[in-house]
């Protein structure tokens, strides 16, 4: 064949479009560049189909006219990067032949080159290893072939040979392709189009299996349930989908009759058919019977049955569960997050306004994430964080910076500091005023702790033996003694001065209320201006925590 006219070009286009359509899913699967969204095949197919639709019903002999309509259809329907590039390739191609009735080998190869030129002009910085490269390489080859050959088929064969070779090279040009182990999706799509062209030239055009219904796309219907429904309201409980491939020795297919019969089984009926296949979607109580009926027409392929009542219940349960969580997590104008340990202390914090307690302290420091997590999903407008330990202040500050709502950290280094700063918290003031007041309160608090030594040690010139009790005042060890009672008494006395007004003692898990009573009754007579407050903190590690204000 030395010449092609409008009719042949039309056949080539239809055949190319059909061949691409049949491979669109595979092309999708190759799509990793520029965005790996897996739609190259779909986009190219839609673009090509739009072009093909423009010429499908035309009987023009004039190849220039066919090209013009094809080009227009492609432009209007271009989808995605590769679809746009395809539209430009054939825009240039069609422009080159626009005045011709029919074209020979020379014009044919020149048209490929014109297409590539046009396509390359529409990008500032072409990325090689894409459909552009495949088009360019194969057009170059068309030019070479046209110098030697006058047969259009030979040229198209040369084009495809080079397009395939170029496609194989795309992973060497575009690293992301190599990484994933694929060839370029757009380039592959172009090869399918060219293959369709060749088939048409050889008179064996890819059959455009009548109006197809997109054979694989629909066995994935998404069902949405309205809020007001209940599982019992569903009349037909099984979403049933299947396809029947017609068989010659089975009942002859008549779509209207088939649809009428299917409608007896239930509702939400969809029947789509072509010459070979019918697809059915129906909601029914008797999926088996519906399929048995379908089987009268041929072989059942691709079956799917889903219990919609069960799906509905699951959705409801999930909804209920999430609704339940929401109710538990209350809405707070101000969340006060405090780190503490010991049920009694937690209770104290809660009683004076803490909304969130994170368990932690000397031996287990909560992370930034732990702090953030306490209020995620809750309706909180602002946050105050009390770390209550100098090792947690940093994490708390990071949490503050990551929160998208106003938040402050009061740098409390101990439980008593946390408690006394929270005592001055006033919900009516703005966050900055609150922070100032709470921080200021820390200046008046002295913190004391009584714990025991886990090993022999020597600190600040003081010998401490394992299991001795130590008194610690604002982080400094003030004394060690075998007697816990003596240690506490000595600690309290060292913390008291003329300005002291309140001494708060939190009794830990290992503390003893009677010990505290005895100490208080022995100290009180000498310090009648001081009030003593005793709470059961149940904290671990520290047998006593005390604050002096």
């Amino acid at each position: 064949m030395d010449k092609i006219d409008g009719k042949m070009f039309r056949n080539m286009i239809l055949s190319g479009a059909e061949n691409l359509r049949q491979h669109a899913e595979y092309v999708d699967s190759l799509n990793v560049f520029p965005v790996p969204d897996g739609d190259t095949g779909t986009n190219m197919n839609l673009s090509m189909t739009s072009g093909a639709n423009e010429i499908e019903d035309r009987e023009d002999e004039h190849i220039g006219t066919v090209g013009r309509h094809f080009s227009k259809g492609l432009l209007m329907g271009a989808r995605g990067n590769s679809g746009v590039i395809l539209s430009q390739l054939f825009r240039g191609f069609s422009k080159a032949i626009e005045d011709q009735d029919e074209i020979g080998a020379e014009e044919f190869s020149a048209a490929f080159e014109a297409g590539v030129k046009t396509a390359y002009k529409a990008v500032m910085k072409p990325v090689e290893g894409t459909i552009l490269t495949v088009a360019k390489d194969s057009a170059d080859r068309a030019g070479e072939a046209a110098g030697k050959e006058s047969s259009i088929i030979s040229i198209m064969e040369a084009v495809i040979e080079e397009a395939e070779a170029s496609l194989k090279r795309t992973p060497d040009l575009l690293p992301v392709l190599k990484e994933v182990g694929v060839v370029d999706s757009g380039g592959q799509g172009l090869v399918y189009v060219y293959e369709g062209f060749l088939s048409a030239l050889k008179g064996e055009a890819v059959e455009a299996g009548s109006k197809p219904a997109g054979k694989d796309t629909f066995v994935n219907d998404v069902h949405e349930f309205d809020d007001f429904m209940s599982a019992e309201d569903i009349d037909y409980g099984f979403c049933t989908e299947f396809m029947v491939r017609f068989e010659a020795d089975k009942r002859e297919f008549d779509e209207d009759a088939f649809r009428q019969d299917m409608s007896e089984f239930g509702d939400s009926l969809l029947v789509i058919s072509d010459d070979e296949i019918v697809k059915v979607h129906v909601h029914t109580e008797t999926p088996g019977e519906a399929m048995t009926y379908g089987a009268k027409y041929g072989e059942l392929i691709k079956m799917k049955i889903e219990n919609m009542r069960e799906q509905f219940r699951e959705i409801q349960e999930k909804k209920d569960a999430s609704a339940g969580r929401k109710q538990e997590g209350q809405a707070y104008d101000t969340a006060i997050i405090t780190v503490s340990s010991g049920e009694g202390i937690n209770e104290l914090f809660r009683s004076i306004g803490a909304t969130h307690i994170i368990n932690g302290g000397q031996t287990m420091n909560p992370s930034t994430e732990d702090i953030l997590r306490t209020i995620e999903d809750e309706d909180v407008k602002q946050v105050i964080i009390l770390p209550n330990n100098k090792n947690i202040i940093m994490a708390a500050e990071q949490a503050r910076d990551m929160l998208e709502i106003p938040a402050v950290v009061i740098p409390t280094r101990s439980i008593p500091e946390g408690l006394s700063s929270l005592l001055v918290y006033s919900p009516d003031e703005d966050l900055e005023q609150v922070r100032e007041a709470m921080e200021a309160s820390l200046e008046h608090v002295k913190t004391g702790q009584v714990t025991y030594a886990v090993r022999d040690t020597k600190i600040d010139g003081m010998e401490i033996r394992k299991n001795q009790h130590m008194g610690i005042k604002d982080g400094k060890i003030t004394g060690a003694d075998d007697s816990r009672e003596a240690t506490l008494k000595q600690l309290i006395e060292s913390m008291l001065d003329e300005e002291s007004e309140i001494v708060t003692v939190l009794i830990g898990e290992e503390g003893d209320a009677e010990e505290v009573e005895r100490i208080i009754s022995s100290i009180e007579p000498e310090h009648d201006e001081v009030e003593f407050e005793v709470h059961d903190g149940q904290q671990p590690v520290y047998s006593y925590l005390l604050s002096v204000e």
Binding site: N81, G83, G92, A122, V123, M124, T368, Q398
Partner: protein, 122 residues
């Protein structure tokens, strides 16, 4: 101005120019875009077409408390479906930035400042 990202190890500052350059790089590789225009030149009727080394001029990056909005001023080749080119640029720029910087991009707004007629004859 820089964008600050914090994690538990410290903070990361990303200059706005970095974001603009990555976005610009993605734009010029985008099919159908034949040029970028600086926002203000166009007002005078002279669409100054910028070379690729000038990415940042056709790219405006705004950071509102960690939400990144990007405005791109582009010139599209004549005879190409403009809406599709713009859509492709949007998705490519968003993808590239999210992939390279881990940023959350709130919007990518495309301003088509001109259409350049591509002479197919030469």
């Amino acid at each position: 101005m820089a964008l600050e990202i914090k994690n538990e190890l410290g903070s990361i500052d990303i200059a706005m120019d970095v974001i603009a350059n990555i976005a610009g790089g993605a734009v010029v590789e985008s099919y159908g875009v034949v040029g970028m225009a600086s926002k203000h030149q166009v007002r005078d009727g002279f669409a100054e077409l910028l070379g690729k080394e000038n990415y940042a001029r056709g790219v405006i990056v705004e950071n509102t408390e960690g939400d990144i909005d990007i405005d791109l001023y582009i010139i599209v080749g004549y005879g190409i479906k403009i809406s599709e080119v713009a859509t492709n640029v949007q998705s490519t720029v968003k993808y590239k930035l999210e992939k390279t910087l881990g940023l959350n991009i709130k919007s990518v707004n495309i301003h088509v400042q001109g259409v350049r007629i591509i002479n197919t004859e030469d």
